[in-house]
């Protein structure tokens, strides 16, 4: 018999209590504080209205969040290896190809370099997979579900097809396994990735300064110069617009978009219309999960 605690866990309702995800409560609170302050400062309409948070699209997000969480715990947890196995696999490959390397203890400098490499490799691979999901005729139908959102809330981050969850999980495993196994090949005991609030320190910092506002109705922009380095919430919101979904694929760093010609700067007055159609219509969630085209297409 499923207990209440287990049910909460299976539905993902314990995310705010668990470090290591974007919905961890300190990140939600910081987003709320920053959002309210920004809204007050720029005299913007509220981003906390019922019209947004109980919009049919937002309700789809909530349903999908719980559904995908059940899928992750029941299916993906079985078919996807743990991160340690990716790292071990990488270590064995280095050992086979390059011979055994006697390991040195990791110094602070090495651990800082390791943390930076993990962050950069993960952020860039997220950019490329994300971009690929937009440009590939096979992957776009999977990613399309994320872009059919007509309003954005932090839960929209999790509005993804289970196959996308699988792809991003594999990406994380491969990239983290690659970087970590390289470091472990040379450095043994004492290797350490610096974390904050359960996330890699840079990700934790990004989460604390408003990653949850990326999926929100609040067009928070950074200074123009900063938007060349970091993707602001408004830049990501632009990516969710009909006109902008060929831009701003980055997660935290804007560097990749800048280097590969997909960066678009925004201002807080930019007009955003979210979705993939000029005149968006609600789409059936089941059809989207089955990767079927909308009925009138």
């Amino acid at each position: 018999m499923l207990t209440v605690t287990e049910a909460i866990h299976w539905l993902g309702l314990d995310f705010p209590a668990n470090a290591g995800n974007r919905l961890y409560w300190p990140f939600l609170i910081s987003a709320l504080v920053i959002g309210l302050a920004y809204q007050h400062w720029h005299k913007l309409p509220s981003f906390l209205t019922k019209a947004i948070w109980w919009h049919p699209s937002a309700r789809q997000d909530y349903a999908l969040f719980m559904l995908v969480n059940i899928f992750k715990l029941s299916v993906l947890s079985v078919i996807l290896p743990e991160i340690g196995q990716f790292i071990w696999w990488g270590l064995m490959r280095w050992q086979d190809w390059l011979g055994y390397q006697s390991k040195q203890p990791a110094s602070i400098e090495i651990n800082i370099a390791f943390t930076i490499c993990l962050f950069v490799a993960n952020d860039s691979s997220r950019y490329w997979l994300h971009r690929w999901m937009h440009t590939s005729r096979w992957l776009w139908p999977i990613h399309r579900l994320h872009h059919t959102a007509q309003v954005l809330t932090p839960i929209t981050f999790y509005r993804i097809h289970p196959l996308e969850s699988l792809l991003f999980g594999l990406r994380y495993g491969l990239v983290t396994g690659l970087v970590t196994s390289i470091y472990m090949y040379w450095f043994g005991f004492g290797l350490h990735a610096y974390q904050w609030l359960g996330s890699l320190v840079f990700v934790g910092l990004a989460n604390m300064v408003g990653s949850n506002l990326r999926h929100s109705q609040l067009p928070l922009t950074y200074w123009t110069w900063l938007q060349y380095w970091l993707i602001s919430p408004a830049q990501h919101q632009w990516h969710h617009t009909v006109a902008g979904n060929k831009h701003n694929f980055g997660s935290i760093l804007a560097l990749w978009d800048r280097l590969f010609g997909s960066l678009h700067n925004t201002t807080y007055s930019s007009k955003f219309r979210f979705g993939i159609e000029p005149k968006p219509k609600p789409e059936n969630l089941i059809r989207q999960l089955l990767l079927l085209a909308p009925k009138d297409h």
Partner: protein, 348 residues
């Protein structure tokens, strides 16, 4: 109202931030000096003392022999004692990391798996020649523990003249070894930096365990049976360690026993204790289980190893040793503070 909404979360954030900054107990504080002292005394100091004592005993026996008609059996027993104590020292050798002056000492004592030269051929030729031994055995590699093995385990019968050359050569080699081994023993006995090194000290031991587990699997067992990428299906019995003294199995046993002293010892001053404090207790327990399984697999292989290279039991031993290395790797991997499951990673 807006102020209240803003203030409350800010207060919560402040409290969270400060408590999280203070909360984690660092690994340094979890490694007790008593634990390091115990490992140092019971493994590093004890083994190096035992090795130098057994070498001195061998030197005394060599000095008291009738060199034309020595008691080979007595000398060979002492050699076995020395060789196995040395294997324990070599497996956990960290003096070179604590002080760079000691980095090369093991290489001057033990030439197993170093270079392509045949110490057996070189030493046999030198002993059979008429050149004075000081000149004939001029190379460092002709005065190490592998050369000593050739000198003390001659092919019988042996002439009185050649026996004398063997014993005199053994005296020369043991004198050279006594210098290096003596310096190691004195260093361990006097240096205190290990006890104050905390995480770094433990890291040295863990790195040695991994290094040693790799060499056990791939050098000491796998290579001879063609089970490694290097030998790929071709038997290579000359890769066995101490094959003339027939100590290949005993050497593996002694090294694994040294691992056990670090991983789990009766005084509970071991990796298991550190693992409990660091949240990787399960990994250490798994490691201990693998060590036990490896010991069982080792006991199942009859001696000498040279006659077992194609047996199933020997292959099982190789697999167990490879899995032991994996267990060490998983202990390291799981002690990393990475997100344990890839499911937490999502798109954007």
């Amino acid at each position: 109202m807006l102020k209240a909404i803003v203030r409350l979360p800010l207060l919560a954030l402040f409290l969270t931030g400060t408590s999280l900054a203070d909360a984690p107990t660092t690994l340094e504080t979890k490694i007790k000096p008593a634990l390091l002292q115990h490992l140092y005394d019971q493994v590093l100091v004890a083994d190096s003392q035992a090795a130098i004592n057994s070498l001195q005993k061998l030197q005394q026996q060599l000095a008291s022999q009738n060199i034309s008609h020595p008691d080979w059996s007595l000398l060979q027993d002492s050699y076995r004692d020395l060789a196995l104590h040395w294997k324990a020292v070599e497996a956990m050798y960290i003096a070179g990391y604590l002080n760079g002056d000691y980095l090369d000492h093991p290489r001057y004592i033990d030439y197993y798996h170093q270079g392509n030269e045949s110490i057996y051929d070189q030493v046999s030729k030198a002993l059979a020649s008429d050149i004075t031994l000081n000149k004939a055995l001029f190379k460092h590699s002709n005065k190490g523990i592998n050369a000593l093995e050739v000198m003390l385990f001659p092919n019988q019968p042996i002439s009185a003249h050649l026996a004398a050359r063997h014993i005199q050569g053994a005296q020369l080699a043991s004198q050279t070894m006594a210098i290096w081994l003596g310096e190691i023993a004195v260093f361990y006995d006097t240096d205190q930096s290990f006890m104050t090194g905390g995480k770094a000290s433990l890291s040295l031991l863990v790195n040695r365990l991994i290094d040693s587990s790799y060499k056990l699997a791939y050098w000491r067992v796998g290579e001879a049976a063609g089970l490694t990428p290097k030998t790929k299906g071709v038997l290579h019995p000359q890769s066995l360690e101490f094959q003339h003294a027939k100590l290949s199995k005993a050497a593996v046993t002694r090294i694994l026993e040294t691992h056990q002293k670090i991983v789990r010892n009766p005084a509970a001053q071991d990796l298991m204790t550190v693992g409990k404090a660091f949240g990787v207790e399960e990994d250490i327990a798994f490691l201990q289980a693998r060590l036990n399984a490896t010991m069982v697999a080792l006991q199942a292989v009859p001696e000498p190893f040279a006659d077992q290279l194609t047996s199933d039991a020997y292959k099982t031993l190789f697999n167990e040793l490879a899995m032991l290395q994996n267990a060490y790797y998983f202990m390291l991997i799981n002690s990393l503070n990475l997100e344990a499951r890839i499911l937490d990673a999502d798109g954007d």
